[in-house]
Symmetry: C2
Subunit: 291 residues, 2 copies
Protein backbone atom coordinates (compact mmCIF):
# COMPACT_ATOMS: atom_id res chain seq x y z
CA UNK A 1 0.00 0.00 0.00
CA UNK A 2 1.40 3.34 -1.08
CA UNK A 3 1.43 6.57 0.91
CA UNK A 4 -1.66 7.80 -0.99
CA UNK A 5 -3.59 4.65 -0.16
CA UNK A 6 -3.44 2.86 -3.51
CA UNK A 7 -2.67 -0.83 -3.42
CA UNK A 8 -0.27 -2.06 -6.08
CA UNK A 9 1.13 -5.43 -7.12
CA UNK A 10 4.88 -5.09 -7.53
CA UNK A 11 5.21 -8.25 -9.62
CA UNK A 12 3.37 -10.91 -11.54
CA UNK A 13 3.94 -14.65 -11.25
CA UNK A 14 6.48 -14.92 -14.08
CA UNK A 15 9.91 -16.03 -12.78
CA UNK A 16 11.63 -13.12 -14.45
CA UNK A 17 10.71 -9.87 -16.15
CA UNK A 18 12.37 -6.90 -17.82
CA UNK A 19 9.20 -4.79 -17.87
CA UNK A 20 10.20 -1.62 -16.05
CA UNK A 21 11.68 -0.84 -12.65
CA UNK A 22 11.98 -3.59 -10.06
CA UNK A 23 9.48 -2.38 -7.47
CA UNK A 24 9.51 -5.66 -5.55
CA UNK A 25 13.14 -5.33 -4.58
CA UNK A 26 12.72 -1.63 -3.94
CA UNK A 27 9.99 -2.40 -1.38
CA UNK A 28 11.77 -5.39 0.17
CA UNK A 29 14.07 -4.05 2.86
CA UNK A 30 12.54 -0.57 2.79
CA UNK A 31 11.22 -1.21 6.32
CA UNK A 32 7.84 0.33 5.64
CA UNK A 33 9.32 3.67 4.60
CA UNK A 34 8.09 3.47 0.97
CA UNK A 35 4.92 1.45 1.39
CA UNK A 36 3.30 -1.14 3.60
CA UNK A 37 3.43 -4.77 2.52
CA UNK A 38 -0.09 -6.11 2.96
CA UNK A 39 0.27 -9.31 0.94
CA UNK A 40 3.25 -11.48 0.04
CA UNK A 41 3.62 -14.22 -2.57
CA UNK A 42 6.44 -16.60 -1.72
CA UNK A 43 8.36 -18.85 -4.05
CA UNK A 44 8.34 -22.32 -2.55
CA UNK A 45 11.10 -24.87 -2.91
CA UNK A 46 10.33 -28.57 -3.02
CA UNK A 47 11.34 -30.78 -0.12
CA UNK A 48 14.54 -32.52 -1.22
CA UNK A 49 14.50 -36.27 -1.80
CA UNK A 50 17.24 -36.66 0.80
CA UNK A 51 18.60 -34.37 3.51
CA UNK A 52 21.78 -34.93 5.46
CA UNK A 53 22.79 -32.76 8.37
CA UNK A 54 25.31 -32.69 11.12
CA UNK A 55 27.80 -30.87 13.30
CA UNK A 56 31.52 -30.45 13.00
CA UNK A 57 33.80 -29.11 15.79
CA UNK A 58 36.84 -26.95 15.01
CA UNK A 59 39.86 -25.63 16.91
CA UNK A 60 38.93 -21.99 16.13
CA UNK A 61 36.31 -19.82 14.47
CA UNK A 62 38.96 -19.04 11.88
CA UNK A 63 39.13 -22.72 10.95
CA UNK A 64 35.30 -22.77 10.72
CA UNK A 65 35.31 -19.80 8.34
CA UNK A 66 38.15 -21.12 6.21
CA UNK A 67 36.35 -24.46 5.92
CA UNK A 68 33.18 -22.65 4.85
CA UNK A 69 35.09 -20.67 2.22
CA UNK A 70 36.84 -23.79 0.86
CA UNK A 71 33.57 -25.75 0.83
CA UNK A 72 31.80 -23.09 -1.22
CA UNK A 73 34.77 -22.62 -3.53
CA UNK A 74 34.93 -26.37 -4.14
CA UNK A 75 31.42 -26.18 -5.61
CA UNK A 76 29.62 -28.30 -3.02
CA UNK A 77 26.00 -27.07 -3.26
CA UNK A 78 25.66 -26.76 0.50
CA UNK A 79 22.14 -26.00 1.74
CA UNK A 80 23.02 -24.62 5.19
CA UNK A 81 26.31 -23.81 6.85
CA UNK A 82 26.05 -22.09 10.21
CA UNK A 83 28.82 -21.03 12.54
CA UNK A 84 28.48 -21.07 16.32
CA UNK A 85 31.35 -19.96 18.49
CA UNK A 86 32.17 -21.80 21.70
CA UNK A 87 30.04 -19.49 23.82
CA UNK A 88 27.05 -19.91 21.53
CA UNK A 89 27.43 -23.70 21.67
CA UNK A 90 27.46 -23.44 25.46
CA UNK A 91 24.23 -21.41 25.36
CA UNK A 92 22.57 -23.97 23.07
CA UNK A 93 23.71 -26.79 25.36
CA UNK A 94 22.22 -25.00 28.36
CA UNK A 95 18.96 -24.33 26.54
CA UNK A 96 18.45 -27.48 24.46
CA UNK A 97 20.64 -30.01 26.29
CA UNK A 98 22.52 -30.92 23.10
CA UNK A 99 25.61 -32.17 24.90
CA UNK A 100 27.89 -30.77 22.21
CA UNK A 101 31.60 -30.10 22.88
CA UNK A 102 31.86 -26.40 23.77
CA UNK A 103 34.20 -25.41 20.95
CA UNK A 104 33.55 -23.52 17.68
CA UNK A 105 31.27 -25.56 15.45
CA UNK A 106 29.64 -25.63 12.05
CA UNK A 107 26.08 -26.89 11.75
CA UNK A 108 25.50 -28.19 8.21
CA UNK A 109 22.82 -29.42 5.88
CA UNK A 110 23.03 -30.99 2.42
CA UNK A 111 20.15 -31.50 -0.01
CA UNK A 112 19.89 -33.85 -2.96
CA UNK A 113 19.48 -37.51 -3.69
CA UNK A 114 20.64 -40.19 -1.25
CA UNK A 115 23.82 -40.61 -3.30
CA UNK A 116 24.58 -36.92 -3.64
CA UNK A 117 24.06 -35.98 0.02
CA UNK A 118 26.39 -38.83 1.02
CA UNK A 119 28.98 -37.59 -1.50
CA UNK A 120 28.62 -33.97 -0.31
CA UNK A 121 28.90 -34.99 3.36
CA UNK A 122 32.03 -37.04 2.73
CA UNK A 123 33.70 -34.27 0.78
CA UNK A 124 32.83 -31.70 3.40
CA UNK A 125 34.36 -33.97 6.06
CA UNK A 126 37.59 -34.14 4.06
CA UNK A 127 37.76 -30.35 3.71
CA UNK A 128 37.04 -29.84 7.41
CA UNK A 129 39.85 -32.26 8.31
CA UNK A 130 42.28 -30.17 6.25
CA UNK A 131 41.54 -27.24 8.57
CA UNK A 132 41.86 -29.36 11.71
CA UNK A 133 38.11 -29.84 12.11
CA UNK A 134 36.15 -32.98 12.82
CA UNK A 135 35.02 -35.56 13.28
CA UNK A 136 32.05 -34.57 11.11
CA UNK A 137 29.12 -36.58 12.35
CA UNK A 138 26.14 -36.51 10.03
CA UNK A 139 22.79 -38.19 9.73
CA UNK A 140 19.82 -38.37 7.42
CA UNK A 141 17.50 -39.15 10.37
CA UNK A 142 14.84 -36.45 10.48
CA UNK A 143 14.50 -36.49 14.32
CA UNK A 144 18.20 -35.83 14.88
CA UNK A 145 18.31 -33.07 12.30
CA UNK A 146 15.20 -31.43 13.74
CA UNK A 147 16.69 -31.33 17.24
CA UNK A 148 19.84 -29.73 15.88
CA UNK A 149 18.10 -27.00 13.90
CA UNK A 150 15.66 -26.25 16.66
CA UNK A 151 18.63 -25.58 18.90
CA UNK A 152 20.12 -23.34 16.21
CA UNK A 153 16.84 -21.46 15.74
CA UNK A 154 16.63 -20.89 19.48
CA UNK A 155 20.21 -19.60 19.62
CA UNK A 156 19.12 -16.02 20.32
CA UNK A 157 16.67 -17.14 23.00
CA UNK A 158 19.15 -19.53 24.54
CA UNK A 159 21.49 -16.65 25.24
CA UNK A 160 19.24 -15.53 28.09
CA UNK A 161 20.46 -18.64 29.88
CA UNK A 162 24.08 -17.45 29.69
CA UNK A 163 23.52 -14.35 31.76
CA UNK A 164 20.11 -14.13 33.40
CA UNK A 165 18.91 -10.55 33.78
CA UNK A 166 21.13 -9.12 31.08
CA UNK A 167 19.59 -7.27 28.17
CA UNK A 168 20.14 -8.74 24.71
CA UNK A 169 21.42 -6.31 22.10
CA UNK A 170 21.58 -8.01 18.70
CA UNK A 171 23.54 -6.73 15.74
CA UNK A 172 24.85 -8.13 12.47
CA UNK A 173 27.22 -7.30 9.64
CA UNK A 174 28.08 -8.98 6.35
CA UNK A 175 31.45 -9.00 4.59
CA UNK A 176 32.77 -10.57 1.39
CA UNK A 177 33.27 -14.26 2.13
CA UNK A 178 37.00 -13.95 1.41
CA UNK A 179 37.29 -11.58 4.42
CA UNK A 180 35.02 -13.53 6.76
CA UNK A 181 37.68 -15.44 8.74
CA UNK A 182 39.62 -12.24 9.32
CA UNK A 183 36.54 -10.26 10.34
CA UNK A 184 35.23 -12.86 12.80
CA UNK A 185 38.67 -13.44 14.32
CA UNK A 186 39.30 -9.73 14.86
CA UNK A 187 35.81 -9.38 16.30
CA UNK A 188 36.41 -12.20 18.77
CA UNK A 189 39.57 -10.50 20.00
CA UNK A 190 37.69 -7.21 20.29
CA UNK A 191 34.92 -8.89 22.32
CA UNK A 192 37.53 -10.28 24.73
CA UNK A 193 39.28 -6.92 25.10
CA UNK A 194 35.93 -5.16 25.56
CA UNK A 195 35.01 -7.52 28.42
CA UNK A 196 31.53 -8.02 26.94
CA UNK A 197 29.73 -11.35 26.82
CA UNK A 198 28.78 -11.71 23.15
CA UNK A 199 28.27 -15.09 21.49
CA UNK A 200 28.62 -15.21 17.69
CA UNK A 201 26.45 -17.05 15.20
CA UNK A 202 27.03 -16.74 11.49
CA UNK A 203 25.37 -17.58 8.20
CA UNK A 204 28.88 -18.12 6.99
CA UNK A 205 27.91 -19.15 3.47
CA UNK A 206 26.85 -15.53 2.98
CA UNK A 207 29.68 -13.89 4.93
CA UNK A 208 27.05 -12.72 7.43
CA UNK A 209 27.37 -13.02 11.21
CA UNK A 210 25.50 -11.88 14.30
CA UNK A 211 26.75 -10.68 17.65
CA UNK A 212 24.43 -11.03 20.62
CA UNK A 213 25.65 -8.63 23.29
CA UNK A 214 24.48 -9.54 26.79
CA UNK A 215 24.59 -6.25 28.63
CA UNK A 216 23.85 -5.19 32.18
CA UNK A 217 22.06 -1.94 31.36
CA UNK A 218 22.53 -0.64 34.91
CA UNK A 219 26.30 -0.62 34.44
CA UNK A 220 27.06 2.61 32.57
CA UNK A 221 30.63 1.62 31.81
CA UNK A 222 29.57 -1.73 30.39
CA UNK A 223 26.90 -0.07 28.23
CA UNK A 224 29.57 2.29 26.91
CA UNK A 225 31.95 -0.58 26.14
CA UNK A 226 29.15 -2.50 24.38
CA UNK A 227 28.28 0.50 22.19
CA UNK A 228 31.92 1.04 21.27
CA UNK A 229 32.27 -2.66 20.40
CA UNK A 230 29.22 -2.45 18.11
CA UNK A 231 30.57 0.64 16.38
CA UNK A 232 33.96 -0.96 15.80
CA UNK A 233 32.22 -4.04 14.38
CA UNK A 234 30.46 -1.91 11.76
CA UNK A 235 33.61 0.03 10.90
CA UNK A 236 35.55 -3.22 10.57
CA UNK A 237 32.91 -4.62 8.18
CA UNK A 238 32.81 -1.41 6.11
CA UNK A 239 36.62 -1.33 5.87
CA UNK A 240 36.42 -4.85 4.38
CA UNK A 241 33.93 -3.69 1.71
CA UNK A 242 31.09 -5.16 3.73
CA UNK A 243 27.78 -3.76 4.93
CA UNK A 244 26.67 -2.40 8.31
CA UNK A 245 23.78 -4.89 8.33
CA UNK A 246 23.24 -8.11 6.41
CA UNK A 247 19.78 -8.92 7.73
CA UNK A 248 18.65 -6.82 10.68
CA UNK A 249 18.11 -3.59 8.78
CA UNK A 250 18.84 0.06 9.45
CA UNK A 251 15.94 1.35 11.51
CA UNK A 252 17.21 4.27 13.55
CA UNK A 253 20.26 2.65 15.10
CA UNK A 254 22.29 2.28 11.92
CA UNK A 255 21.23 5.46 10.08
CA UNK A 256 24.50 7.04 11.17
CA UNK A 257 26.46 4.51 9.06
CA UNK A 258 24.48 4.99 5.84
CA UNK A 259 26.65 7.75 4.41
CA UNK A 260 29.88 5.89 5.18
CA UNK A 261 28.50 2.78 3.51
CA UNK A 262 26.85 4.26 0.43
CA UNK A 263 28.50 7.65 -0.03
CA UNK A 264 26.62 10.96 -0.04
CA UNK A 265 25.36 10.76 -3.65
CA UNK A 266 23.86 7.27 -3.34
CA UNK A 267 22.30 8.24 -0.02
CA UNK A 268 20.82 11.32 -1.74
CA UNK A 269 19.25 8.97 -4.34
CA UNK A 270 17.61 7.04 -1.50
CA UNK A 271 16.33 10.29 0.00
CA UNK A 272 14.92 11.38 -3.38
CA UNK A 273 13.11 8.05 -3.76
CA UNK A 274 11.69 8.39 -0.25
CA UNK A 275 10.48 11.93 -1.03
CA UNK A 276 8.97 10.87 -4.36
CA UNK A 277 7.01 7.97 -2.88
CA UNK A 278 6.16 9.51 0.48
CA UNK A 279 6.14 13.32 0.07
CA UNK A 280 4.35 13.85 3.39
CA UNK A 281 6.77 11.56 5.25
CA UNK A 282 4.00 9.52 6.85
CA UNK A 283 5.44 6.05 6.22
CA UNK A 284 7.60 4.92 9.17
CA UNK A 285 9.17 8.37 9.38
CA UNK A 286 12.66 8.82 10.78
CA UNK A 287 13.88 5.40 9.69
CA UNK A 288 16.62 4.45 7.17
CA UNK A 289 17.00 7.96 5.69
CA UNK A 290 16.44 11.41 7.18
CA UNK A 291 14.24 13.56 4.92
CA UNK B 1 26.39 7.82 -13.29
CA UNK B 2 23.41 9.85 -12.21
CA UNK B 3 21.62 12.56 -14.19
CA UNK B 4 23.52 15.24 -12.28
CA UNK B 5 26.89 13.66 -13.13
CA UNK B 6 27.71 12.04 -9.76
CA UNK B 7 29.09 8.54 -9.88
CA UNK B 8 27.73 6.19 -7.22
CA UNK B 9 28.39 2.59 -6.22
CA UNK B 10 25.06 0.85 -5.79
CA UNK B 11 26.50 -2.00 -3.72
CA UNK B 12 29.49 -3.25 -1.82
CA UNK B 13 31.01 -6.70 -2.12
CA UNK B 14 29.04 -8.32 0.70
CA UNK B 15 26.77 -11.07 -0.61
CA UNK B 16 23.73 -9.59 1.08
CA UNK B 17 22.76 -6.37 2.80
CA UNK B 18 19.75 -4.78 4.47
CA UNK B 19 21.27 -1.29 4.54
CA UNK B 20 18.72 0.83 2.72
CA UNK B 21 17.02 0.70 -0.67
CA UNK B 22 18.28 -1.75 -3.27
CA UNK B 23 19.71 0.63 -5.85
CA UNK B 24 21.47 -2.13 -7.80
CA UNK B 25 18.25 -3.82 -8.78
CA UNK B 26 16.58 -0.48 -9.39
CA UNK B 27 19.29 0.38 -11.95
CA UNK B 28 19.41 -3.09 -13.52
CA UNK B 29 16.75 -3.21 -16.21
CA UNK B 30 16.15 0.56 -16.12
CA UNK B 31 17.60 0.75 -19.65
CA UNK B 32 19.61 3.88 -18.96
CA UNK B 33 16.55 5.88 -17.91
CA UNK B 34 17.69 6.35 -14.26
CA UNK B 35 21.46 6.37 -14.69
CA UNK B 36 24.21 5.09 -16.93
CA UNK B 37 26.07 1.95 -15.84
CA UNK B 38 29.76 2.73 -16.30
CA UNK B 39 31.20 -0.16 -14.30
CA UNK B 40 29.87 -3.59 -13.39
CA UNK B 41 31.05 -6.11 -10.82
CA UNK B 42 29.98 -9.63 -11.67
CA UNK B 43 29.57 -12.58 -9.37
CA UNK B 44 31.47 -15.48 -10.88
CA UNK B 45 30.53 -19.12 -10.54
CA UNK B 46 33.17 -21.81 -10.46
CA UNK B 47 33.52 -24.21 -13.37
CA UNK B 48 31.77 -27.40 -12.26
CA UNK B 49 33.83 -30.51 -11.70
CA UNK B 50 31.75 -32.32 -14.31
CA UNK B 51 29.35 -31.12 -16.99
CA UNK B 52 26.98 -33.31 -18.96
CA UNK B 53 24.96 -32.03 -21.87
CA UNK B 54 22.78 -33.35 -24.62
CA UNK B 55 19.71 -33.14 -26.79
CA UNK B 56 16.34 -34.79 -26.48
CA UNK B 57 13.72 -34.89 -29.27
CA UNK B 58 9.98 -34.72 -28.49
CA UNK B 59 6.73 -35.24 -30.38
CA UNK B 60 5.53 -31.67 -29.58
CA UNK B 61 6.57 -28.43 -27.91
CA UNK B 62 3.91 -29.22 -25.31
CA UNK B 63 5.76 -32.42 -24.43
CA UNK B 64 9.00 -30.41 -24.18
CA UNK B 65 7.40 -27.92 -21.79
CA UNK B 66 5.72 -30.57 -19.67
CA UNK B 67 9.03 -32.40 -19.39
CA UNK B 68 10.74 -29.17 -18.32
CA UNK B 69 8.06 -28.57 -15.67
CA UNK B 70 8.28 -32.14 -14.34
CA UNK B 71 12.09 -32.02 -14.31
CA UNK B 72 12.15 -28.85 -12.25
CA UNK B 73 9.40 -30.06 -9.95
CA UNK B 74 11.30 -33.30 -9.35
CA UNK B 75 14.14 -31.25 -7.88
CA UNK B 76 16.81 -32.03 -10.49
CA UNK B 77 19.16 -29.03 -10.20
CA UNK B 78 19.30 -28.57 -13.97
CA UNK B 79 21.85 -26.02 -15.19
CA UNK B 80 20.36 -25.31 -18.63
CA UNK B 81 17.14 -26.41 -20.30
CA UNK B 82 16.45 -24.80 -23.66
CA UNK B 83 13.51 -25.42 -25.97
CA UNK B 84 13.83 -25.25 -29.76
CA UNK B 85 10.80 -25.84 -31.91
CA UNK B 86 11.11 -27.83 -35.17
CA UNK B 87 11.63 -24.72 -37.27
CA UNK B 88 14.38 -23.46 -34.95
CA UNK B 89 16.12 -26.86 -35.11
CA UNK B 90 15.94 -26.63 -38.91
CA UNK B 91 17.57 -23.18 -38.80
CA UNK B 92 20.34 -24.44 -36.50
CA UNK B 93 20.90 -27.43 -38.80
CA UNK B 94 21.19 -25.08 -41.81
CA UNK B 95 23.57 -22.76 -39.98
CA UNK B 96 25.70 -25.14 -37.92
CA UNK B 97 25.23 -28.47 -39.77
CA UNK B 98 24.15 -30.24 -36.59
CA UNK B 99 22.24 -33.00 -38.38
CA UNK B 100 19.56 -33.05 -35.69
CA UNK B 101 16.10 -34.49 -36.34
CA UNK B 102 13.85 -31.53 -37.22
CA UNK B 103 11.37 -31.98 -34.40
CA UNK B 104 10.89 -30.05 -31.12
CA UNK B 105 13.90 -30.54 -28.89
CA UNK B 106 15.32 -29.74 -25.52
CA UNK B 107 19.01 -28.86 -25.20
CA UNK B 108 20.20 -29.65 -21.68
CA UNK B 109 23.13 -29.24 -19.37
CA UNK B 110 23.81 -30.68 -15.91
CA UNK B 111 26.51 -29.57 -13.48
CA UNK B 112 28.01 -31.43 -10.56
CA UNK B 113 30.33 -34.28 -9.83
CA UNK B 114 30.80 -37.16 -12.30
CA UNK B 115 28.36 -39.23 -10.25
CA UNK B 116 25.72 -36.54 -9.88
CA UNK B 117 25.64 -35.46 -13.56
CA UNK B 118 25.23 -39.09 -14.55
CA UNK B 119 22.40 -39.48 -12.04
CA UNK B 120 20.72 -36.24 -13.20
CA UNK B 121 21.03 -37.23 -16.87
CA UNK B 122 19.51 -40.65 -16.27
CA UNK B 123 16.62 -39.23 -14.29
CA UNK B 124 15.95 -36.60 -16.91
CA UNK B 125 15.88 -39.32 -19.58
CA UNK B 126 13.25 -41.23 -17.58
CA UNK B 127 11.07 -38.12 -17.20
CA UNK B 128 11.39 -37.30 -20.92
CA UNK B 129 10.33 -40.84 -21.82
CA UNK B 130 7.16 -40.42 -19.76
CA UNK B 131 6.19 -37.55 -22.06
CA UNK B 132 7.05 -39.47 -25.26
CA UNK B 133 10.46 -37.85 -25.63
CA UNK B 134 13.80 -39.44 -26.32
CA UNK B 135 16.19 -40.97 -26.80
CA UNK B 136 18.14 -38.54 -24.62
CA UNK B 137 21.70 -38.63 -25.87
CA UNK B 138 24.17 -36.99 -23.54
CA UNK B 139 27.88 -36.59 -23.26
CA UNK B 140 30.49 -35.14 -20.93
CA UNK B 141 32.89 -34.54 -23.88
CA UNK B 142 33.64 -30.81 -23.97
CA UNK B 143 33.95 -30.64 -27.81
CA UNK B 144 30.48 -32.08 -28.37
CA UNK B 145 28.89 -29.83 -25.78
CA UNK B 146 30.58 -26.76 -27.21
CA UNK B 147 29.28 -27.48 -30.71
CA UNK B 148 25.77 -27.83 -29.36
CA UNK B 149 25.76 -24.62 -27.35
CA UNK B 150 27.42 -22.63 -30.09
CA UNK B 151 24.56 -23.67 -32.34
CA UNK B 152 22.09 -22.62 -29.64
CA UNK B 153 23.82 -19.27 -29.15
CA UNK B 154 23.70 -18.65 -32.89
CA UNK B 155 19.99 -19.50 -33.04
CA UNK B 156 18.96 -15.90 -33.72
CA UNK B 157 21.62 -15.51 -36.39
CA UNK B 158 20.82 -18.86 -37.96
CA UNK B 159 17.30 -17.69 -38.64
CA UNK B 160 18.57 -15.53 -41.49
CA UNK B 161 19.24 -18.79 -43.31
CA UNK B 162 15.56 -19.74 -43.08
CA UNK B 163 14.32 -16.83 -45.14
CA UNK B 164 17.09 -14.79 -46.77
CA UNK B 165 16.16 -11.14 -47.18
CA UNK B 166 13.52 -11.15 -44.44
CA UNK B 167 13.81 -8.76 -41.51
CA UNK B 168 14.14 -10.30 -38.08
CA UNK B 169 11.74 -8.99 -35.44
CA UNK B 170 12.54 -10.52 -32.07
CA UNK B 171 10.21 -10.53 -29.08
CA UNK B 172 9.87 -12.43 -25.84
CA UNK B 173 7.44 -13.03 -23.01
CA UNK B 174 7.63 -14.93 -19.73
CA UNK B 175 4.82 -16.78 -17.96
CA UNK B 176 4.55 -18.84 -14.76
CA UNK B 177 6.14 -22.20 -15.54
CA UNK B 178 2.85 -23.96 -14.83
CA UNK B 179 1.29 -22.11 -17.82
CA UNK B 180 4.26 -22.49 -20.18
CA UNK B 181 3.07 -25.54 -22.16
CA UNK B 182 -0.32 -23.90 -22.75
CA UNK B 183 1.21 -20.56 -23.73
CA UNK B 184 3.71 -22.01 -26.20
CA UNK B 185 1.14 -24.36 -27.73
CA UNK B 186 -1.40 -21.58 -28.26
CA UNK B 187 1.33 -19.38 -29.69
CA UNK B 188 2.35 -22.06 -32.18
CA UNK B 189 -1.24 -22.34 -33.40
CA UNK B 190 -1.43 -18.56 -33.67
CA UNK B 191 1.80 -18.46 -35.71
CA UNK B 192 0.35 -21.02 -38.13
CA UNK B 193 -2.93 -19.14 -38.49
CA UNK B 194 -1.08 -15.85 -38.94
CA UNK B 195 0.99 -17.29 -41.80
CA UNK B 196 4.18 -15.87 -40.30
CA UNK B 197 7.50 -17.71 -40.21
CA UNK B 198 8.49 -17.52 -36.54
CA UNK B 199 10.77 -20.08 -34.88
CA UNK B 200 10.54 -20.39 -31.09
CA UNK B 201 13.37 -20.76 -28.60
CA UNK B 202 12.72 -20.85 -24.91
CA UNK B 203 14.56 -20.68 -21.63
CA UNK B 204 11.91 -23.03 -20.41
CA UNK B 205 13.30 -23.39 -16.91
CA UNK B 206 12.23 -19.78 -16.40
CA UNK B 207 8.95 -19.92 -18.35
CA UNK B 208 10.53 -17.49 -20.83
CA UNK B 209 10.40 -17.90 -24.61
CA UNK B 210 11.34 -15.92 -27.68
CA UNK B 211 9.64 -15.56 -31.04
CA UNK B 212 11.79 -14.59 -34.00
CA UNK B 213 9.46 -13.22 -36.64
CA UNK B 214 10.93 -13.35 -40.16
CA UNK B 215 9.05 -10.62 -41.97
CA UNK B 216 9.09 -9.31 -45.53
CA UNK B 217 8.85 -5.61 -44.68
CA UNK B 218 7.76 -4.71 -48.21
CA UNK B 219 4.58 -6.75 -47.75
CA UNK B 220 2.20 -4.45 -45.83
CA UNK B 221 -0.29 -7.22 -45.11
CA UNK B 222 2.43 -9.50 -43.72
CA UNK B 223 3.76 -6.67 -41.54
CA UNK B 224 0.25 -6.13 -40.21
CA UNK B 225 -0.21 -9.84 -39.45
CA UNK B 226 3.19 -9.95 -37.72
CA UNK B 227 2.32 -6.98 -35.50
CA UNK B 228 -1.04 -8.50 -34.60
CA UNK B 229 0.67 -11.80 -33.75
CA UNK B 230 3.12 -10.01 -31.44
CA UNK B 231 0.32 -8.14 -29.71
CA UNK B 232 -1.67 -11.31 -29.14
CA UNK B 233 1.46 -12.97 -27.73
CA UNK B 234 1.79 -10.25 -25.09
CA UNK B 235 -1.91 -10.33 -24.25
CA UNK B 236 -1.77 -14.12 -23.92
CA UNK B 237 1.20 -13.87 -21.53
CA UNK B 238 -0.45 -11.13 -19.45
CA UNK B 239 -3.69 -13.13 -19.23
CA UNK B 240 -1.63 -15.99 -17.76
CA UNK B 241 -0.15 -13.68 -15.07
CA UNK B 242 3.04 -13.35 -17.10
CA UNK B 243 5.04 -10.38 -18.29
CA UNK B 244 5.26 -8.61 -21.67
CA UNK B 245 9.02 -9.17 -21.68
CA UNK B 246 11.23 -11.59 -19.79
CA UNK B 247 14.58 -10.38 -21.09
CA UNK B 248 14.38 -7.98 -24.04
CA UNK B 249 13.09 -4.99 -22.13
CA UNK B 250 10.50 -2.32 -22.77
CA UNK B 251 12.24 0.36 -24.84
CA UNK B 252 9.58 2.15 -26.86
CA UNK B 253 7.89 -0.88 -28.41
CA UNK B 254 6.39 -2.30 -25.23
CA UNK B 255 5.57 0.94 -23.38
CA UNK B 256 1.95 0.50 -24.45
CA UNK B 257 1.68 -2.70 -22.37
CA UNK B 258 3.09 -1.25 -19.16
CA UNK B 259 -0.22 -0.10 -17.71
CA UNK B 260 -1.93 -3.41 -18.49
CA UNK B 261 0.92 -5.29 -16.84
CA UNK B 262 1.50 -3.16 -13.74
CA UNK B 263 -1.73 -1.22 -13.27
CA UNK B 264 -1.94 2.58 -13.24
CA UNK B 265 -0.77 3.10 -9.64
CA UNK B 266 2.39 0.97 -9.96
CA UNK B 267 3.17 2.66 -13.27
CA UNK B 268 2.75 6.03 -11.53
CA UNK B 269 5.34 4.89 -8.95
CA UNK B 270 7.77 4.17 -11.79
CA UNK B 271 7.07 7.60 -13.26
CA UNK B 272 7.68 9.27 -9.90
CA UNK B 273 11.01 7.45 -9.51
CA UNK B 274 12.01 8.52 -13.02
CA UNK B 275 11.11 12.13 -12.23
CA UNK B 276 12.98 12.05 -8.90
CA UNK B 277 16.18 10.69 -10.39
CA UNK B 278 16.04 12.47 -13.75
CA UNK B 279 14.01 15.67 -13.32
CA UNK B 280 15.20 17.11 -16.63
CA UNK B 281 14.41 13.87 -18.50
CA UNK B 282 17.83 13.66 -20.12
CA UNK B 283 18.52 9.96 -19.50
CA UNK B 284 17.31 7.86 -22.47
CA UNK B 285 14.10 9.92 -22.66
CA UNK B 286 10.94 8.40 -24.06
CA UNK B 287 11.78 4.86 -22.97
CA UNK B 288 10.01 2.57 -20.46
CA UNK B 289 7.77 5.31 -18.97
CA UNK B 290 6.36 8.53 -20.44
CA UNK B 291 7.06 11.53 -18.17
Amino acid sequence: MLAFGEVIDTARRAKKTSAGYDLTRLMVGSEGTLGIITQLTLKLSGIPEAIAGGTCPFPSVEACCNTAIATIQSGIPIARIELLDALQVRACNLHAKLGLPEVPMLFLEFHGTEASVAEQSERFGEIAAEFGGGPFTWTTRAEDRTKLWEARHHAALSNFALRPGAQIVATDVCVPISRLAECVTETQADIAESRIMAPIVGHVGDGNFHLTLLVDMSDADEVKRAKALSERLVKRALAMDGTCTGEHGVGQGKMKYMEAEHGPAALAVMVSIKRALDPQNILNPGKIVAV
